[in-house]
């Protein structure tokens, strides 16, 4: 897929969930792209020794893609997953794929790969049948060998059959094995990256150490959006071994040692220009609301809200906010580029090798086939490594020093400064419950900063209106996709609001949801969560500190229940227990799926309680982990994960769904503990204290 096609597919909405635009449209369920190759040889190679290699354009971010994709191949070819070698994210070797994000690997790529492996299996059986003169029905395929049921000593191997050649035969679509016959899917399988990761042998892009590498440190403006006007590099140039490269407004200090390059960069004096927005982290919310106001339009409308409001016995109006949040992957952005023989090779920490390739090609005005991107182990992504600015920087510099590998490794301050944050947002909700406390009579939602993506869940709301701005450049800071974009912002607002309605009407929050839910899967999941947790129905606040929230990402559903304790003197919230019940269809790798849920809960405890980018104009005030607070071990609760048994239903991805309801469940738990409604994510101790002041004295 060339860049133009890629952009077209973005415009057509097929990729909107990757790039959070503040446009008003809800994310559109992407159609399956047609660009996956039909020929299974693109995905599978069988070497002369019988060893199977699987090539996929996804990458290993830690989410376990390497293991789960090998499981699918192993299932069809009757192998131990350990015997399937994975080549991931190499744009020369792997067939095109979409970025690794949006929970797409299992939804998009897995069926394609499973189909390819199923076809390869059928072809191998036909070849064996011909070679052995036996009908396919008399053949057994297992562990890389094929033998006759009727004469088990008559056997052949994958290696003998294929002899290192490409498989020429094609059978078209072959059905994968029925689930009842599967022996790998659904089993706990050792992670393929385990040994490399516990021994330090796993190579990340910054670990390459190609001979002759120069480390490039780039001069940054003090504020986002500013560009370099002039620079005095004389002091830096006096450092032995330093070399300066300039390409337009890009100025880099090169040195064989990364730390020396960084020190020399500090000697460069630059002047920059560019406007700075007159806004900061306190005023951002009003800023967004004001800027969005003229462009607000109705994106979903059912019934007449004014009429619905007249029917309401209980009305709640509230404004929900969230701050900018950084991806803060533990591995900062890093790429190595080398220009040699008219081709640019880039080794990157990337979620999207093919997007990186196209971005580099465009920046250097090269045809796409002159750029080769090779993904390495990636030290976390979460939506932060989709676009490739570091790869483009490394390539621009490398273009000027032919043959020399150039490493661009952002330090932590650069990583915070250059990140595309989870957008700050404001959601205004006004809604009402009827006198019988069984129906939402109206629901009126207006957002600024995000779209209405995943704003609706399967709740009966016959009269509703959702508004979102059409203005596209709402944010003063760079924003991007942060794991389940839009969905967590909207779920926080919706689930907090439902809780507030239930409390005001004197209703148990689970009972209210049961009355509203229109979808059997969600209802079953709610029951599963409530039973596993041991929820005792009571209208809040009960003082127990237990809160519940539901959420969705596409067809993936989650019900979360949190238990917290709140220190009323300091405002500190401690998460004691957190349960998620998850329905993502058929779970291929149960332990991997569980890891994703545990990780999402843990990560979003930080999102809910402490993570916030502070800024003034274009200046990012958070520069390291001393002020930007990720959850540490002492913040981790007891975590429980249960999966709905959904038989054979289509596998949804699991990266996004478990993120969605976490902050909402915690906020509802804070309310249940104290009677204080926190409406601003993160609910830091200061914000909790403010909310506590609003609680009417008994």
């Amino acid at each position: 897929m060339r860049r133009r096609d890629f952009l077209e597919s973005v415009a057509a909405g097929t990729l909107t969930f990757f790039f959070t635009t503040p446009l008003g449209s809800a994310p559109i369920i992407p159609t399956r792209p047609g660009a996956y190759p039909e020929d299974f040889n693109a995905y599978l190679k069988i070497a002369a020794d019988g060893r199977v290699t699987c090539m996929v354009g996804k990458v290993e971010l830690g989410q376990g893609a390497m293991t789960v994709l090998a499981m699918l191949v192993a299932e069809e070819l009757e192998l131990d997953p350990a015997k399937v070698d994975m080549v991931l994210g190499d744009t020369d070797l792997c067939p095109w794929d979409m970025p690794t994000g949006g929970s797409l690997t299992m939804w998009h790529t897995a069926p394609v790969l499973r189909g390819a492996a199923a076809e390869a299996r059928a072809v191998l059986l036909r070849m064996a049948s011909r070679a052995m003169g036996a009908p396919v029905s008399d053949l057994v395929l297992k562990d890389g060998a094929i033998w006759m049921k009727s004469a088990p000593t008559r056997r052949t191997t994958f290696g003998e059959l294929v002899q290192g050649r490409k498989l020429e035969r094609h059978l078209g679509k072959v059905k994968p094995k029925p689930l009842a016959d599967c022996t790998v899917i659904g089993r706990r399988v050792p992670r393929k990256d385990a040994l490399a990761k516990v021994t330090g042998a796993a190579k990340y892009a910054g670990d390459l150490r190609l001979p002759g590498t120069l480390h490039a440190c780039i001069l940054r403006p003090p504020a986002q959006g500013q560009t370099l006007v002039s620079a005095d590099t004389s002091a830096a140039e006096r450092v032995p071994g330093v070399r300066i490269v300039r390409d337009g407004s890009l100025l880099a200090v090169l040195h064989p040692q990364p730390d020396t390059a960084r020190k020399a960069l500090a000697l460069v004096k630059g002047t920059f220009e560019g406007p700075e927005p007159d806004v900061d982290d306190a005023r951002i919310y009003q800023y967004l609301v004001d800027k969005a106001a003229p462009g607000q339009r109705v994106v979903i409308s059912r019934g007449d809200v004014a009429v619905g409001e007249k029917r309401a016995a209980t009305v709640v109006e509230a404004e929900y906010r969230n701050a900018y949040e950084s991806h803060a992957t533990l591995e900062p952005h890093v790429s190595v580029a080398q220009w040699e023989g008219g081709r640019m090779t880039v080794w990157s920490s990337t979620q999207s090798p093919f997007v990186f390739r196209d971005a580099v090609a465009e920046a250097l005005k090269l045809p796409g086939d002159k750029v080769h991107v090779i993904a390495q182990f990636v030290g976390g992504g979460f939506g932060g490594k989709l676009a490739g600015p570091d790869a483009v920087e490394a390539a621009r510099i490398a273009r000027q020093v032919p043959g020399v590998p150039i490493q661009v490794a952002w330090n932590r301050e650069e990583d915070f400064f250059l990140d595309g944050y989870r957008p700050a947002a404001v959601v205004k909700l006004r809604s009402g419950l009827d006198a019988g406390r069984g129906a939402i009579t109206f629901w009126d939602s207006t957002v600024a900063g995000v779209s209405q993506g995943e704003a609706e869940l399967a709740y009966e709301m016959q009269t509703s209106r959702y508004q979102a701005p059409t203005v596209s450049s709402l944010h003063p800071l760079k924003v991007g996709a942060w794991r389940a974009p839009n969905a967590h912002t909207n779920a926080f607002a919706r689930e907090s609001q439902l809780d507030a309605l239930a409390a005001k009407a004197g209703l148990d929050p689970v009972t209210l949801r049961r009355r509203l839910i229109t979808d059997a899967r969600l209802l079953n999941l709610l029951d599963l969560a409530v039973e596993t947790f041991g929820w005792e129905p009571a209208p809040g606040p009960t003082g127990r500190g237990i809160g519940l929230a539901c959420g969705a990402w596409r067809q993936g559903l989650v019900v979360a229940i949190a238990q917290v304790s709140v220190d009323k003197a300091t405002g500190a919230v401690k998460t004691e227990r957190f349960l998620e019940a998850v329905d993502v269809g058929l779970v291929v790798n149960p332990d991997g799926a569980r890891q994703q849920v545990e990780g999402a809960i843990t990560q979003c405890i930080g999102q809910a309680l402490s993570e916030e980018i502070r800024f003034k104009g274009g200046r990012i005030l958070d520069k390291n982990f001393d002020t930007y607070l990720l959850p540490r071990f002492s913040a981790i609760p007891r975590i429980q994960v249960v999966f709905a048994d959904t038989g054979t239903s289509v596998t949804q991805g699991i990266g996004e769904p478990p993120v969605v309801p976490v902050a909402a469940a915690l906020a509802n738990a804070v309310f249940d503990a104290t009677g204080a409604r926190v409406t601003h994510v993160p609910f830091t101790p200061k914000r909790v204290l403010e909310a506590l002041k609003q609680v009417p004295a008994k």
């Binding site: 971010l61 516990v198 150490r209 591995e331 982990f625 540490r632 981790i636």
Partner: protein
């Protein structure tokens, strides 16, 4: 100023020519080619660069080479003996106590330094010992389980 600094690295004597105020992590990764030790913050805040200096867990991003002269430095590459994983590595592998793995070397080193002194630690003592190490992927629960079970394997069953 260039200087010669000698220390014992993973059991073998090494000498590097480097200024004494250069941070250990750069010497390890660049001069000595041991890239298992990671860099996450360069400020002693994340623990990704943790190594053992004379048995104590130290952030190698904030430990000057001069400070380790004549001492013994252990990195993740030095933990396994003749291909046999150390009990902490083994437990991390078994529990899948990682996702992206970028924090893993530092986690294992911090846990090893702690467990050697206190294999019979309680869960809350382990939490306290690991508090300086960040994991962005949220592998914490498994890391605690792994450290606990490594402690047991080391004879520290409570």
């Amino acid at each position: 100023m260039k200087a010669t600094v000698s220390f014992v690295l993973n059991g073998k004597p090494v000498t590097v020519e480097s200024p004494r105020d250069r941070m250990l992590v750069w010497a390890l990764r660049d001069e000595l080619g041991l890239t298992g030790t990671k860099v996450g913050c360069e400020a002693g805040l994340c623990g990704a660069c943790t190594v053992l200096v004379d048995g104590e867990a130290m952030p190698s991003c904030s430990t000057a080479l001069g400070e380790v002269a004549g001492k013994s430095v252990l990195t993740i590459e030095g933990l396994a003996v003749e291909g046999k994983l150390n009990p902490v590595q083994e437990a991390f592998k078994e529990h899948h106590a990682f996702q992206c793995g970028y924090c893993t070397s530092g986690m294992i080193m911090a846990a090893w330094a702690f467990l050697k002194k206190k294999p019979k630690a309680t869960r809350s003592e382990i939490v306290e010992a690991m508090e300086g190490n960040l994991c962005r992927c949220g592998a914490h629960v498994r890391i605690l389980d792994a450290v606990e079970s490594a402690g047991k394997a080391m004879g520290g069953a409570r």
